[in-house]
């Protein structure tokens, strides 16, 4: 093995060689420069591989002495891990910087090399004073490089940085001196052997000063204003090195010192990390400048890494693998992502984040940016996800619930501003363009590939047993690569991919899983056919779509808690991509992401709380312990958020309605069932083990009932057809939750029955309206009308769907209502029965409103020539119509398998007698009802048909119009503000209180953020004062 000393030798030698080579020619100098960095990275990789292969750790003593007097370099697995990462990113960053460096004199190159030397030295060295020297090497070269843009901002930022950095080094030096004075050695190994040397008064102070100095270097909130100025003003390439490689080295120093710290110190340090994480994210909300925003984000991530390793140490964990999994994972994630994002900001140039729409026309850059945002938010499959899971799991296992809560809150804020930014980039089209720059793009691609490779590595090390789960992101990426293909080809491929997933997965399922499998996979599959109806490229739909379908499969197949959460998050991500593609505004996808992530965090908190003590990552869902109650309630709350119950439904109308017309049906009919599936999976897991479940049932029931009511009520006021259907879905979800909360055989049968029928009829209605909208290019119902004349088939299917929705016999909808009321009255929940009945009566209002406004009434002049919707939209509708008719004729075909899957719960069973289903209170024979209905329908029809010859078919203006003729169809069609009288009578019930609440909450958080960021006055002296005060406060806490 090559001695670690060569790592330093290579770069220092290059420091001297570069100016010489530069004399010969610019390109020679650059070549030597890159060769040295590449060599360093290569060495790191070589060591890492051999150390992983089992080679012993290397210790090198320089200057002919042995420790403690010599300069000792140690290269273990941890060091090599950091070295390889740091040097790789440094190499990539230097490539990004290439354009800027080539304009500078050779000094710039030497400064870069010195910086790298400092970084590597910090990682390798084992004694405090050497650390000081390398830190100064790093700092001074950084101070100089910050000034590279040569503008006023860069100079003042650099100067502020020097003041703060100077203070930090001062403290480090004082601390080092006192350590030497107390312990008589500066060598880490000796100090570690007898850490009690530092536990006295002076010793403590010495150690404190060292740690405080390191912490200042890591830019803790709020003593970090100077760093933010640097992030904003410095060249993104340089800044990316500071925040990734530089921070990484200092973090590693902190890691090396961890064993010296007392419990108290660790606690305070961990707290400081958490505070930094939460508040930096908070302040970032108001930030518009990309560099500074990335700065806040970097700082928060650093805080999280600090917290990660400190808490691990606090929990007494010594295995390096765990540190690698948590702190290493978080750091690696941060390293590549932040590198990527800073380089991207270099690429985009000096634009505030609102103007990042320039990326919208650049698929590769947008993809990279999206990847970075997703990875940084801690979503799967990236390392941050696995690391956070492990970290939070350990926090929960050790009872650090408040910390867990803070981390989740901070992450949520992070998700907010990152996805808002992604929204700006993806949705707002800007006519500016950015010129190609392969020197910047290539390192970004490399970073992305490395990040993905690391994801594979991390997911493997955390033993996700189910190989299918790995396919979820893989399918997404595959379909991203297939994007240049024509849309229809992609649809067929997506159908094939999803179909094969269904074929593989479904036979392995049973019981409720099978029912939901058929619903989610089958439902999506059928509706995906509609995609064939749209021409063009259809960019950005199929990666999300296929990923979503695979996530459905994953959700149902997985047997581990981690696997479930992984699939859940992938599903969220996939659906986010779909809505991002279709939405007209950035607001809807963002709202969806915030609420979904909030819900997912609740589920996450619940899952890790329920994990049995000492469990592995692969703990099965069946092993979860719900006896505490809290865990179960958290999980259910998470699913309720995802289901969009009243109070957290803010995201729902936009999400279900704004996607593409062939995607909305899947989101609204199939995806909404994923929350139901989750609800049922966990309710069956926990059934009987949760204390206080009666109260829980009642609360859940009322949540469901109120959701049904308010969803329905809001639906009747909508002017937008798709939004109306979206609110209708909310109402139907309310019924499902209400039925599920009954915890009885009939209740659950009702819930799943409603879920199945809702899938069918809402699929039909959304597809039908989608077909209409795709022809008319408007979703405002009052602009439509009379479509029955132009689109009779769409009308027919819509009508079937509508009858099924309204619950009118003889179609399937009635079965759901009947089961629901039976179960409710059987349980004794009379008020909820009445509420459900009222809601379903109100549902008639919006049913009529939409069918009248869209299909009936007056055909508008502009739409006299529109054609029937595409046949590809109609095929899935007719498939669903056929299913509805079959289930209506023989309800037994549907109810029996469902009740079999539900199994035996509390309450009476359903009894069958031929086609009559009955229970203690009532009975229903769907087949007879269907027959009778058809009979009584035929008799008058025959009579009317006998008179058909005398009847003249007339046109739309042949109406009685107070003896006048109608003026224009637009003024004759009654559609706008259809239920004005309902607003007058009950309008107070539909005031946007929920929106006001959430907007108020958002306003408050935003105001707090705005107030907090005034800490960063911009004055270097204030920053210095903040550093001093921070250290003082830290001392008071740690003492």
């Amino acid at each position: 093995m090559v001695s670690p000393v060569y790592l330093l030798v290579v770069t220092i030698a290059a420091v001297f060689l570069v100016p010489l080579a530069d004399r010969i020619g610019r390109s020679y100098g650059m070549s030597v420069f890159y060769a040295a960095i590449a060599a360093a990275a290569g060495l790191g990789l070589f060591w890492f591989l051999s150390l992983r292969g089992g080679a012993p750790a290397q210790n090198v003593f320089i200057a002919g002495f042995t420790g403690p007097y010599a300069i000792q370099l140690q290269l273990g697995i941890a060091e090599s891990f950091v070295i390889v990462l740091v040097n790789t990113v440094f190499l990539l960053a230097s490539i990004v910087l290439g354009g800027a460096l080539i304009k500078e004199k050779a000094y710039a190159l030497t400064l870069m090399l010195l910086m790298l030397t400092g970084i590597n030295g910090l990682v390798l060295s084992r004694d405090l004073f050497n650390m000081f020297v390398f830190m100064e090497l790093l700092s001074i070269s950084t101070y100089a490089l910050v000034a590279m843009p040569r503008n006023g901002q860069a100079f003042s930022a650099g100067f502020k940085y020097m003041i703060a950095g100077g203070l930090a080094s001062t403290f480090f030096l004082i601390g080092t001196a006192f350590v030497y004075r107390t312990a008589g050695t500066l060598h880490l190994d000796y100090l570690l052997r007898s850490p009690e040397l530092l536990h006295g008064g002076v010793g403590f102070a010495a150690l404190f000063l060292v740690i405080a100095a390191l912490l200042i270097e890591l830019k803790p909130f709020p003593a970090n204003g100077w760093a933010l100025d640097v992030y904003q003003a410095g060249h993104p390439g340089v800044v990316s090195i500071i925040t990734t490689a530089g921070t990484g080295a200092v973090l590693f120093v902190l890691y090396k010192l961890l064993p010296l710290m007392s419990v108290r110190m660790l606690q305070v340090l961990g707290g400081a990390g958490i505070v930094t994480f939460v508040f930096s994210n908070l302040v970032a909300i108001k930030q518009e400048n990309p560099g500074r925003l990335l700065g806040y984000s970097s700082i928060s991530q650093t805080g999280l890494v600090i917290a990660g390793m400190v808490f691990l140490r606090l929990f007494g964990i010594r295995e390096i693998a765990v540190y690698a999994a948590v702190a290493g994972g978080l750091f690696l994630n941060h390293l590549f992502v932040k590198g990527l994002m800073f380089w991207l900001s270099e690429r985009v140039g000096p634009r505030p984040i609102r103007e990042w729409g320039v990326l919208a026309g650049k698929p590769l850059l947008l993809f990279l940016f999206g990847l970075a945002v997703v990875a940084l938010s801690g979503l799967p499959p990236f390392p941050g996800f696995w690391a956070k899971w492990e970290f939070l799991k350990l926090l929960a296992a050790n009872g650090y619930y408040p910390v867990l809560g803070f981390i989740l809150a901070g992450s949520l804020i992070e998700v907010f501003y990152l996805f808002r930014w992604l929204g700006y980039a993806a949705v707002k089209e800007d006519h500016d363009t950015i010129s190609p720059a392969p020197a910047v793009t290539l390192p970004m691609v490399a970073a992305a590939i490395l990040l993905l490779a690391a994801s594979v590595f991390f997911s493997g090390s955390l033993s996700v047993r189910e190989p299918l789960l790995r396919l979820i992101p893989a399918a997404g990426i595959l379909f991203y690569l297939l994007e240049p293909l024509p849309g229809r080809v992609k649809t067929v491929l997506a159908l094939a991919a999803s179909g094969s997933a269904a074929v593989i997965v479904l036979p392995g399922l049973s019981g409720l899983h099978l029912v939901f499998g058929i619903m989610l996979l089958g439902g999506s599959l059928v509706q995906m056919i509609a995609g064939l109806g749209s021409g063009g490229r259809r960019r950005g739909i199929y990666p999300g779509m296929v990923m979503m379908v695979y996530s459905f499969a994953g959700l149902l197949v997985t047997e581990t808690a981690l696997g479930f959460f992984f699939a859940w998050e992938m599903m969220t991500l996939a659906s986010y991509l779909l809505i991002l593609r279709g939405s007209r505004s950035a607001r809807t996808p963002l709202l969806y992401m915030i609420f979904s992530t909030g819900g997912a965090f609740l589920i996450l908190a619940g899952l890790i709380t329920a994990l049995p003590a000492g469990s592995l990552s692969s703990a099965g869902l069946g092993d979860l312990v719900f006896s505490g109650g809290t865990a179960f309630y958290l999980i259910i709350a998470g699913f309720l958020v995802k289901a969009g119950v009243v109070g957290v439904h803010l995201w729902l109308p936009g999400f279900y309605s704004e996607a593409d017309h062939d995607v909305s049906p899947i989101l609204s009919s199939a995806l909404s069932k994923a929350a139901v599936a989750g609800l049922f999976i966990f309710m069956s897991l926990a059934n009987g083990t949760v204390p206080g479940s009666d109260m829980f049932s009642v609360i859940l029931g009322w949540i469901g009932g109120l959701t049904a009511f308010f969803g329905t009520l809001m639906a009747i006021y909508q002017e937008d057809a798709k939004r109306l259907l979206a609110f209708s879905s909310m109402g139907q979800m309310g019924y499902i939750i209400l039925a599920a909360s009954l915890m009885s055989t009939i209740g659950w049968t009702a819930a799943i029955y409603i879920a199945v029928t809702h899938l069918l009829f809402k699929g039909i209605m959304f597809l039908s309206v989608g077909g209409v909208v795709s022809r008319l290019n408007t979703t405002n119902m009052y602009e439509m009308g009379g479509m029955i004349k132009r689109m009779p088939l769409s009308f027919m299917t819509f009508l079937i769907g509508l009858i099924a929705l309204s619950g009118v016999p003889p179609l399937t909808g009635f079965g759901g209502k009947w089961l629901l009321y039976s179960a409710l009255v059987g349980k004794g929940w009379y008020m909820l029965t009445a509420l459900a009945l009222f809601s379903s009566a109100v549902a008639f209002l919006y049913c009529y409103r939409i069918i009248h406004s869209v299909f009936l009434g007056q055909l508008k002049t502009g739409f006299r020539a529109v054609k029937e919707a595409s046949v590809w939209y109609l095929i899935p509708q007719f498939i669903f119509v056929m299913l509805i008719m079959i289930f209506s004729m023989v309800p037994r075909l549907l109810i029996e398998p469902i009740s079999a899957a539900v199994g035996k719960l509390a309450g009476p069973d359903l009894l069958w007698q031929g086609n009559t289903v009955s229970h203690a209170l009532g009975y229903w024979n769907g087949t007879t009802v269907m027959m009778v209905t058809m009979g009584v329908f035929m008799v008058p029809l025959v009579w009317l048909l006998s008179r058909v010859r005398s009847i003249q078919k007339v046109k739309q203006f042949n109406i009685v119009y107070a003896a006048e003729r109608p003026d224009r169809p637009e003024t004759t069609h009654y559609a706008h503000n259809f239920f004005a009288h309902y607003t007058k009578a009950l309008g107070f019930l539909s005031l946007p209180l929920v929106r006001r609440f959430w907007e108020g909450a958002g306003e408050w958080i935003s105001s707090i953020a705005a107030a907090l960021r005034h800490l960063y006055s911009g004055n270097g002296q204030t920053y210095a004062l903040q550093v001093m005060l921070y250290i003082t406060v830290l001392y008071l806490f740690m003492r």
Binding site: K955, Q956, V960, A963
Partner: protein
């Protein structure tokens, strides 16, 4: 068959022609006599009135529904829409403007349909006969079954008119709708002579 013929609807601008039905009115032959007799009995005993009350004669219609005269005992009732009415009562003089509305309403009623002209004005223009704006003779424009003269006719006279109409219906003589269809072109020409700003289809289905 002239039923299949379409009307040109020249009064309508090009883009509006598709909004109106352009079929000609048809003659609907009565059924076999004994059935028709029964049906005519029912028609006579269930006269639903569409009252066109812009003339002063309308004032005399109100008392018909009161306890004193009560025409509901004859099975008669007011009907707010021409679609469902079988008897159009023209309540007095017609101007150019109101004639247009009357024609539209009449055409929107279904065969068989009956017209009663109320007051002298419908017969010959009455006291307004020399106005620039009054229609003097209703049956140039619509087939009138019964005229009830007077200025104004009392409710008793109106009831007598109803009796007359019922008699006509029962006798099978009240075929105004078919007459209108048969001589459609003549009626239409007369109508268009008066109404110069014709912005309706030629036949208001």
């Amino acid at each position: 068959m002239h039923n299949k013929e379409t009307l040109p609807n020249l009064g309508l601008p090009e883009h509006e022609r598709d909004l109106f039905c352009d079929a000609r009115p048809r003659v609907s032959k009565p059924l076999a006599s004994y059935i028709e007799k029964f049906l005519n009995w029912s028609r006579a005993n269930s006269l639903w009135i569409l009252a066109y009350g812009t003339g002063c004669g309308a004032i005399e219609l109100r008392p018909l529904f009161t306890a004193r005269f009560d025409i509901s005992r004859y099975g008669m009732a007011p009907r707010p829409t021409p679609r469902q009415a079988s008897l159009l009562m023209i309540g007095g003089y017609l101007s150019v403007k109101t004639l247009k509305r009357v024609i539209r309403s009449y055409e929107q009623m279904q065969n068989p349909k009956f017209v009663i002209g109320l007051g002298s004005c419908t017969v010959n223009g009455g006291m307004y006969w020399d106005s620039y704006n009054t229609i003097n003779r209703l049956d140039h424009y619509l087939p009138v079954d019964v005229y009830i003269t007077g200025c104004m006719p009392r409710p008793e006279a109106i009831i007598a008119g109803f009796e007359q109409l019922k008699k006509r219906i029962k006798d099978g003589r009240a075929e105004g709708a078919n007459q209108y269809a048969e001589q459609f072109d003549w009626y239409k020409a007369n109508q268009k002579k008066i109404i110069t700003d014709w912005n309706m289809p030629d036949y208001n289905w």
